[in-house]
């Protein structure tokens, strides 16, 4: 994503709807993708995307240019998506207590997976093995291509935590992708 110009942010913050539309066009791609990969459902991703841009619109006046707009938008997206996951996990817990939730939701997810292509399905499956927090860091690094410093700023954690979380998440991915290859022998 190209960095957004300061003027267009100020214009959009001042209520200029055309400027805000340009901002949306420049950033909605990564917002939607990060949301989709973290939440893993198109309907959730749509809801999160709308929510993120409502927040951006509401808080644009307070944006202080201390971080880049891109980092700011990534942060809002990841936080909104993680909150969304936590909320729906809570709902799931309630059903799980009756021992039916897990299976039902897996069946729903499966239908959506079949609709996508093979590599798509593989990636979805791999990411599904991770916790939402682990998914977030893997997506930022591997799909969005952020460096350690940008990830640290986005998730508001120290660089060493970025490193240890990445390691842990990549270990999980390998365990899932090729069962039995690495992690048992690692330790």
């Amino acid at each position: 994503m190209n960095e957004i110009s300061r003027e267009s942010i100020i214009q959009a913050a001042g209520g200029d709807m055309e400027a805000f539309e340009a901002l949306y066009k420049a950033t909605s791609g990564f917002v939607y993708n990060v949301a989709l990969r973290i939440a893993q459902k198109t309907s959730d991703a749509e809801e999160i995307t709308q929510d993120v841009f409502m927040k951006i619109h509401r808080n644009l006046k307070e944006f202080s240019f201390k971080s880049s707009f891109k980092t700011w938008a990534y942060r809002i997206t990841v936080n909104t998506a993680l909150n969304h996951c936590r909320a729906s996990m809570k709902d799931k817990d309630v059903i799980d207590m009756e021992n039916v939730g897990e299976l039902a939701s897996q069946r729903n997810d499966l239908k959506e997976k079949i609709d996508r292509q093979d590599s798509e399905a593989k990636v979805s499956e791999m990411l599904a093995a991770l916790s939402p927090e682990q998914r977030a860091i893997i997506i930022l690094r591997e799909i969005e291509g952020l460096d350690y410093k940008e990830i640290a700023e986005t998730l508001n954690i120290p660089i060493n935590t970025v490193r240890s979380r990445l390691k842990r998440s990549r270990e999980e991915l390998i365990v899932c992708a090729k069962k039995g290859v690495a992690s048992h022998e690692v330790r």
């Binding site: 993708n33 709308q50 936080n79 990636v123 490193r163 990445l166």
Partner: protein, 160 residues
């Protein structure tokens, strides 16, 4: 270098191209003679390649229209200060949000108006000031209310 140290690098700095040349060379050397670590390296590279291969799609077009509608319909009840003093007063009288502010503000307006009317008989300059004071006070009252309901919630989450 031992396997666990090598793999520590493999999972982070090495694969992300952050290890210095010397460390990289030592790891490569180890990998050349260690099938276990080589397998780990290949597995990381494979998962990474499939993650990078996924298509990135944009959001469906209807999201923008839904968003625009939500923003435009939200704007009408936003920030009374923007609508000028008449909008502010209208909001106090008719707006549903300012139940508590309304009584105070109306009392305040009456008080200041009485005071202004009293002063205007003597001095034109004082009247001008009172009018400013009136607007200032009403605005202050509303800004306080706005602050209570709107700020310090969403923004904090992203900056803390």
């Amino acid at each position: 270098m031992k396997c666990d140290k090598v793999q520590e690098f493999l999972f982070t700095d090495y694969i992300d191209g952050l290890a210095d040349k010397e460390t990289e060379a030592r790891i490569d050397e180890h990998i050349a003679g260690c099938p276990k670590c080589r397998e780990v390296k290949e597995a990381i590279a494979a998962t990474r390649a499939s993650l990078k291969s996924v298509k990135r799609e944009g959001p469906p077009g209807h999201i923008w229209y839904r968003l625009k509608e939500a923003i435009l319909s939200g704007k009408q009840e936003e920030r009374p200060a923007l609508g000028g003093i008449l909008g502010t007063l209208k909001n106090i009288v008719t707006g549903p949000r300012y139940v508590f502010a309304r009584a105070t503000a109306v009392a305040l307006v009456i008080l200041v108006l009485v005071f202004a009317a009293f002063v205007v008989q003597r001095n034109y300059m004082t009247t001008e000031m009172s009018r400013e004071e009136l607007y200032g006070l009403v605005n202050f009252e509303l800004n306080g209310d706005e602050m209570m309901s709107d700020l310090g919630t969403e923004i904090e989450k992203y900056f803390l």
